[in-house]
Amino acid sequence: MGFHGSKRQWRLQAIAGILLSALILPIFVSVHSIVSWDFAMAILPGWHSTVFPPYFVIGAVHSGVSAVATVMASLRRVFHLEDYITPDHFDALGRLLVAVATTWLFFFLMDFYFGIFRRDPTEVAVWQLRLFTPPYSTLFPIFLLTAYVIPVPIWLFRRFRRNIGVMFWTSLLVNVGMWLERYILIVPPLSFKEPFTYLWVPPYVPQPPEYILTLAGFGLVSFGFLIFAKIFPIIPLYDIKEGQVLKHEIRIGRVRVPAIFRE
């Protein structure tokens, strides 16, 4: 392309980073809330809730940031990026995850609370299905333990946040938990299709094509990550170099700037 690192190109690149981040954030929120409105507008017990949009958005942030931690730890080990991805990064991610996970828990509890507060028989029946009927009654505690109860208390301790192995396994737990959350959110209300309990459809049991499609989904995403990591530089080296340049010097050329100065 002819990028040669002129002042103009660097300046545009820095501004573009900020600009695109600002633009992508409302898109992220809108995409996830549109998906959640698709559920909420279905007038299906268990889905018909006004808390869904923020619940889905924060759930996506929770599982997304955890996935970032998992992928970071994996790539750090595979590509020997120990000098670039440091415990400081995982520490920062852990702090962020504590806040995000707790916000997500608030919306989860709101969904549960509003579900049972109005005492709508079908809504209560769906929650009974989720909480007391196998296999959901087994999956539900696993989901809650893996999505919040186990990882968040661990992330409260600095030494665990700076431990790459702990961060890898806890963030992986969150991804398992958040996958189960969506499963429990979607499947039980669909199992409750009729107004009378004797008309309930048989419990949903995944069939081999569904297992294959689910595994293929995981495989496709992993494949995409690996292809990206193979083709593109996963660490922008100028960031590292810039950090080295600005680390010890306050005065650069003819201007005096803070050590972490950035356009």
């Binding site: 002819g2 990028f3 040669h4 002042k7 103009r8 545009l12 690149q13 100028y238 810039e242 050329g253």
Partner: protein, 178 residues
């Protein structure tokens, strides 16, 4: 006149202070800001070398893109619904609430696409004109590229050397030899 490799030369420096001195000397020798380009492997703060602020139109393009995206999305939702007028539940064919979603997404998509195009356009990419370059620049050295120096090459080279240039590169493929 577009610059070519034959009338360009590159001074390679180690220290930012020397680059600032070189720019002062080159300006004193009659070179304008548009003829001087600083190359570096990392982004330096604005004004670090005493250079003139860069003018760009990056902030205009997202708005242009948003306007175009909004218009396209509006045409899309109105066009498709009028082409296939299926009345559902007695609701109007053109109902604003469901149209807002598509228009919002179209607006944001236009803004993002135009921003990306603008970054490429304003960065003057793709730049296929071969220019002098030194691989040491990507390792932390700083280059001062003087373009349109035809007839003033000696003055430019003298200014660069007096400011402390470690090397002067004039050939576009010099990087292959080093």
């Amino acid at each position: 006149m577009a610059e070519t490799a034959s009338d360009a030369l590159l001074g390679v420096f180690r220290e930012p202070d020397s680059v600032a001195t070189a720019l002062d000397s080159l300006r004193a020798a009659g070179f304008g800001g548009h003829e001087l380009t600083i190359l570096s492997g990392v982004p330096y703060p604005e004004g670090a070398f005493g250079e003139e602020p860069e003018r760009h139109r990056l902030y205009v393009f997202p708005f242009m893109g948003a306007a175009c995206g909004f218009a396209v999305a509006l045409l899309l939702v109105i066009g498709t619904q009028i082409s296939y007028p299926l009345v559902t539940g007695g609701k109007p064919i053109l109902s604003i609430p469901p149209m807002v979603n598509v228009m919002y997404e179209g607006t944001m998509l236009g803004a993002v696409l135009f921003t990306v195009i603008c970054i490429i356009f304003e960065s003057r990419l793709p730049n296929l004109t071969p220019m002098p370059y030194d691989p040491r620049i990507s390792e932390g050295y700083i280059g001062v590229l003087v373009t349109r120096a035809d007839g003033r090459t000696a003055a430019a080279e003298r200014a660069l050397r007096e400011a402390g240039a470690l090397d002067i590169v004039t050939h576009p493929n010099a990087q292959l030899a080093t």
